[in-house]
Symmetry: C2
Subunit: 164 residues, 2 copies
């Protein structure tokens, strides 16, 4: 998909890279990848996708909206858990096919559906053979109990694969 209202179609390489018109490039499924970092700590909180509607709503409201691939619908971050994300800064990259959000989370600022602050709570050791890598838990303390938080929400109805 090269165009998706309300955004203009992407221009040539020079326009994409050096221009000031926001003309995002969506992938074949109409999605654009998004990295959310904590405005407070700089930590990467989560990785997700937006479709054109989620992107437009995020720009218009300053509240992070994503496209849930597992649930197949627009997803206002925190609609079930209360862990909404206010956008402090929003950027796009050189070829306008990725988005970076600096966000301020509500409450416990737990971005991950497992109850943790970040989805990236396990480290991959480097300088070792890549077969049979053992992950190391880091920043893995739960801020909320996902069982109780999602019990009465749509996310608990068996359709939630992950926070994405």
């Amino acid at each position: 998909m090269s165009q998706a209202a309300p955004f203009p179609a992407p221009g040539d390489k020079s326009a994409s890279e050096e221009g000031s018109v926001f003309a995002p490039r969506f992938d074949a499924e109409g999605l654009i990848p998004v990295v959310a970092t904590s405005a407070k700590t700089g930590e990467v909180l989560m990785f997700a996708y937006m479709n054109a509607e989620a992107l437009a709503r995020t720009i218009e409201t300053g509240e992070a909206h994503y496209w849930s691939r597992s649930r197949g619908r627009l997803w206002r971050k925190g609609e079930d858990s209360g862990n909404t994300q206010r956008v402090v800064e929003m950027r796009t990259d050189c070829d306008q096919d990725a988005i970076w959000l600096k966000v301020e989370g509500a409450g416990a600022e737990a971005a991950c559906h497992t109850g943790r602050k970040t989805c990236f709570y396990r480290a991959i050791p480097t300088g070792t053979p890549s077969g049979g890598v053992a992950l190391r838990f880091i920043d893995a303390e739960r801020q909320f109990d996902p069982e109780s938080v999602y019990r009465h929400s749509s996310a608990a109805k068996g359709t939630l694969k992950s926070s994405k």
Copy 2:
């Protein structure tokens, strides 16, 4: 693609989220998305993809390797520009389908093929209508001249769409 040597096939939801076995999930094209941030400043430098080989080499060498979608080949970051990336920390997310690299760049630490430190050098204003958004340049100072750096490299032979 659910399995790619030398990595084991992904397990169930519980194994993916709470286990310590690294079993990355590649997409239909055999790729996994990667966010690289500066270990020094916390800034998001670039967004790219790895295939299984790039992921294995990154783990084994501690040097960032990606899959270049535009060139259709393995890409050791900095092989043309000299802006290599040493991995300070590497993490995966809850469902093991994304990678976060904290890196230390060589030289000018310019991660973007346009010569800038970061690929994310333009901000998208929020709280405004999403049609006709004007980007604002930020952190956009060039650290090197891409014309001269890539002139004699494979990247200059008309095959480089972007740094990805």
